[in-house]
Symmetry: C4
Subunit: 211 residues, 4 copies
């Protein structure tokens, strides 16, 4: 698995594949997805009579739940794709992967901020800033593996790699652009974040078509 690059000191040989690294990553993604619901709770002491109104009042929290669930799902899909191009790992790749997981596992907190204060510039910008960081960290493993790390599978289709790199770069730029929008018009920023999902899809299709 390491034909292309001489082993450096301190490296962990990927002699049994990336199995446990991916198992740990899948675990963190799954738990981050599932912990999002913890932020949704009725106010303490909600009476039976006020239940309906209280459930309706949680609207912004449902929105934040759905948005963050889809965001984490999207980053998982990207992680899934990227690690199919990679043939092994070294210390740097492991830590880049942990950096991404640290931001993914952090997302339940900005989600709760967005659910409680999404109408404020501060709340929306805080969420947006975490999106920018997570998006950048999501792209880092492939940039490293395709670049200095030389950890790509020899048989991988270079166009697919290029497509993934452009897509992650474009997402990071896109989220960065939404930051000033969030400060001026929080709800517009939320709309732009939702728009990200179809846009990634269109971008990927275009890139595939052009080869």
């Amino acid at each position: 698995v390491t034909e292309e690059r001489p082993l450096r000191e301190g490296d962990e040989v990927a002699d049994e594949g990336l199995g446990r690294l991916l198992a740990l990553a899948d675990g963190v993604f799954a738990i981050a997805l599932t912990l999002l619901v913890i932020e949704i709770a009725l106010p303490e002491g909600t009476s039976d009579a006020r239940l309906g109104a209280a459930l309706v009042a949680l609207g912004p929290r449902y929105f934040a739940y759905v948005l963050s669930f889809a965001v984490i799902a999207r980053f998982w899909i990207a992680h899934h794709r990227v690690f199919r191009y990679i043939r092994g790992y070294d210390d740097t790749l492991i830590w880049l992967n942990f950096l991404l997981l640290m931001l993914v596992a952090f997302l339940p907190f900005p989600t709760s901020v967005l659910g409680a204060h999404g109408n404020t510039p501060t709340g929306a910008a805080f969420y947006g800033a975490v999106l920018v960081s997570t998006s950048a960290a999501s792209g880092a493993p492939l940039w490293y593996a395709a670049g200095r790390g030389r950890l790509l599978r020899p048989d991988v289709d270079r166009r697919l790699v290029r497509q993934s790199r452009i897509s992650s770069l474009a997402s990071t730029v896109y989220f960065t652009v939404t930051l000033p929008v969030a400060l001026l018009a929080p709800y517009v920023a939320m709309g732009l974040w939702l728009l990200w999902f179809p846009m990634v899809r269109v971008l990927m299709t275009r890139l595939t078509r052009r080869g």
Copy 2:
């Protein structure tokens, strides 16, 4: 793994099976099951003397815990069965799977509502509405894979597929019927939800017998 359908642009080739997709799904199911217990807690400041009474007063929460645990287990069993019929995945299947996981991961919240306000029409109907949605989402991957997605294994027994599709459709209709019941008589609806488990079993047996 993709003999039956030409690969579309944007598809992820299932060249290494559905392994990570199922690992992520199993993680979300396992965490949703285990998070249910978080809703069970003694009221703050319960004294030693009042402990027995406080444990008994949690009765509705134990019921909600057992019901939701069994519900999630049942959806996991269906997921387990359905994905044994499927030979690969595309973007649509991935997102249908995430839609199901989003509803499964949401269940701890309606469970806590049922545990605290199950005696009210609003509380019971809210829980029932999430059951309807989850049941519909549980059936979606197979409907898609067997239909437009053409993602079934070529060697799969079509009677088993038909049986699973009918079963998921019947469950969704059944839960929809319990919704007005929940609004009129919450406790009757809870009884009907418990009845669902033996009914699915009988239905599956009948369908198998008829072939």
Copy 3:
């Protein structure tokens, strides 16, 4: 994998092993282990000056944490061993497995009760009652698989199966005996629960020696 028994209607053929069943079980065990720590928290508003005293006052909660962690670990070891004797599964085995997982996932709650009210007969007996139930449920899959279910591997050493069955039965009886003790002397019951770990070990060794 199903040479010994004709397939019944409604069965799920174990054609791809028990993989996902065990993955789900491992997930629930891992999360139950890790959720135990949530019950350990400083009282709200603990001042810097009172921190030392507050950390010491959590003593009973540390004890409950360690006890429950070891208890869940022990049940996982038993689960691990039992499922190595089993060659497939049917609906009954799946639901017996979920019954065990439901009790394992419930353990964080009695643990918090023990941590907060372990000095009371009610608190200790509640914890003990959950131990009895979990122990009985832990033994059920093997009793079923070795009996009516006829799901044992054909090549399994019957002495090992007998040893596991006796061990799980003995544990259930032992925990049942501790119940009245918990009602009279909670701290003695806690000591007996700790004694369980070396006793299981001695019992297993004796049973192995006798063959």
Copy 4:
């Protein structure tokens, strides 16, 4: 897998590898990593106007989050490496592994103490004491497997084993030295804990070079 040592009574034969043991361990590591975020929350009743200040005031909690995330990641990397040298397991190794997991799963609590009271000698020393214990427990499986347990793979490079043992011993000594520092100057201790990461890396490289 057990050529080197006669099987003892009570042993579990590692006939199907360490798969489930590692799956459980990965689950506990992943959940411990993800639960760290639960300690980060806005004070109840934070107004929109005070949101910015409240997010800034959580600074020490972000620091504790990042530190503990990296600490758990580091222990996972060590676990990952160590278990690649091991060919099977017996009861002792299983329980040493659970001891490590018990401390890893405990880390969210000292992390919350550090986040809320990191400026106090007590808070910092409490965190440091858990680091010492976890580090010692992290080294135990390899010391046992390479020593009395005789559970190493026959083909493993003994220099790598020696390197891992020295590294875990050095980490434990290092964290022990930071304990009195934490009591005198909490912030210096935090700096020393951060220094641990590059130091482990340098140590591993040196040891590799010397062979």
